[in-house]
Symmetry: C2
Subunit: 240 residues, 2 copies
DNA sequence: TCGAATTGCGATCACCGTTCGCAATCAAGA
DNA sequence: TCTTGATTGCGAACGGTGATCGCAATTCGA
């Protein structure tokens, strides 16, 4: 009935519910995992923008259209990538109290985003719902088990913690890049602000940027940002 | 020496430092502001993806290439849009205490992001540094003036508050869309998760989602999320 | 062995951001 | 007043993108 539409007949629209290979037909020359890995390498080295269908296909020696046998769309490829890196979490639960456990997960998240600089923006933008991501979510909720809060409230807390982590890392990465070797762009970029500050507009901004940044360790800053939030959210140091 | 490269001779690479019109030559038929407004309308109605150079140009009755006389790139157009909506803040400072003032700004931000659903992802992803955005930043710092913290620490707090706001709104918008009239997509989207939950993986996730969402008002939830963070960050109710 | 389903993929479509070159326009200087 | 030179508007084009189509080749179950 249908022409060569792209995907096999078993396509329940959801990547994770779709079997990778059907019992009939020639055996695929590639795999979802291999494709995700190739895409990941490209993203790590050249940024997310370099991850195009054609580029990924070429990097595994396949034709562009062939990728659509494994992946329904470019977005789905990105989903695969996100879940792949979510697999880097170490989720073994030691006997720590909730706050320490969550803090550990947050730090792991920060490390992962440092390894894969393209991740932070994505996490802030779209939810990742693959098996590895769900495993992470479950682990975070497990850490919150002894805390007396409603289920939705706990979900909210985990979501916020992840968001804060992503936002923090994004700031880190942005400032790292702007102090890089690309003098021109970043210099010009801030020129307007400098002018405006000297012109006397934004007095409070000027004052805030004048204060020396005696904050020291970025690690410490991150820890206190997360701790701040958890404290406000009512996560105690010892389990209540 | 140069062909028709695009922009006029006065192009200090920064939109905000570049004069809109030069004293010589024919008077422009459009304006930066008009273009931003047109782009904004398109984004509000059809989403950010619909804001292409060609589309915006057509909507104001101009040729595609003409837009580059006003804007150096698509990214710059987006910058214009972001700063335009940043102008919707009401920044008059009444005599409130820091916490109340910040909370008001956060609520205004949330309202703005509701009016312009494309905004939240952008704010989380790239900083906006136009005059209106800087005015907002300055107002937030003004609210923090009576608080005894270093300048950078205050900047950090404002950045985090904005990030939390954007993340919260993003969650709101995502759940609104998924419970919309588009039954198929959202149903299929969650199907995998439902299956996995019933299969017994992710027990804590299952438990958390089973608890009824007695949280009530989203407004209230938002207030407490922000308040939580501010409390943890050491912003008192009354000025210290 | 045969049929049905699947794979790989070249060609193609409809876009996208961006650049080029040129005619038309306008303000200032001669 | 006329000329000059920078600036505007823009059709055409370039290289790239995601996605679809149709077909030959492959493979497994019946």
């Amino acid at each position: 009935m249908k022409g060569g539409a792209g995907l096999p007949a078993h396509d329940p629209t959801d990547v994770w519910r779709r079997p990778e290979r059907s019992p009939v037909g020639p055996k695929p020359e590639h795999s979802r995992n291999g494709i995700a890995t190739a895409a990941l390498r490209i993203a790590d080295q050249e940024g997310l923008a370099a991850v195009s269908i054609r580029r990924v296909a070429a990097s595994i020696g396949a034709g562009a259209a062939s990728l659509y046998r494994y992946v329904k769309s470019h977005d789905e490829l990105v989903e695969l990538m996100m879940d792949a890196v979510a697999g880097e979490y170490q989720l073994e639960a030691d006997g720590e109290h909730p706050r320490g456990r969550l803090l550990d997960l947050a730090h792991q998240g920060r490390d992962i985003m440092h390894r894969h600089p393209w991740l932070a923006p994505l996490l802030l933008t779209r939810p990742s719902m693959g098996p590895n991501s769900l495993r992470f979510l479950d682990a975070a909720l497990a850490a919150l088990a002894p805390v007396d809060l409603s289920g939705p409230a706990k979900l909210q807390i985990v979501a916020m913690m992840s968001a804060i982590t992503s936002a923090f890392v994004q700031n880190e990465l942005a400032s790292l890049t702007s102090s890089g070797p690309d003098e021109n762009a970043s210099a010009n970029r801030g020129q307007y602000i400098i002018d405006a500050l000297q012109a006397g507009e934004y007095p409070h901004l000027a004052a805030a940027m004048a204060g020396h940044s005696a904050t020291g360790d970025a690690d410490e800053q991150f820890t206190s940002a997360i701790t701040n939030y958890l404290t406000g959210a009512g996560i105690p140091i010892q389990l209540s």
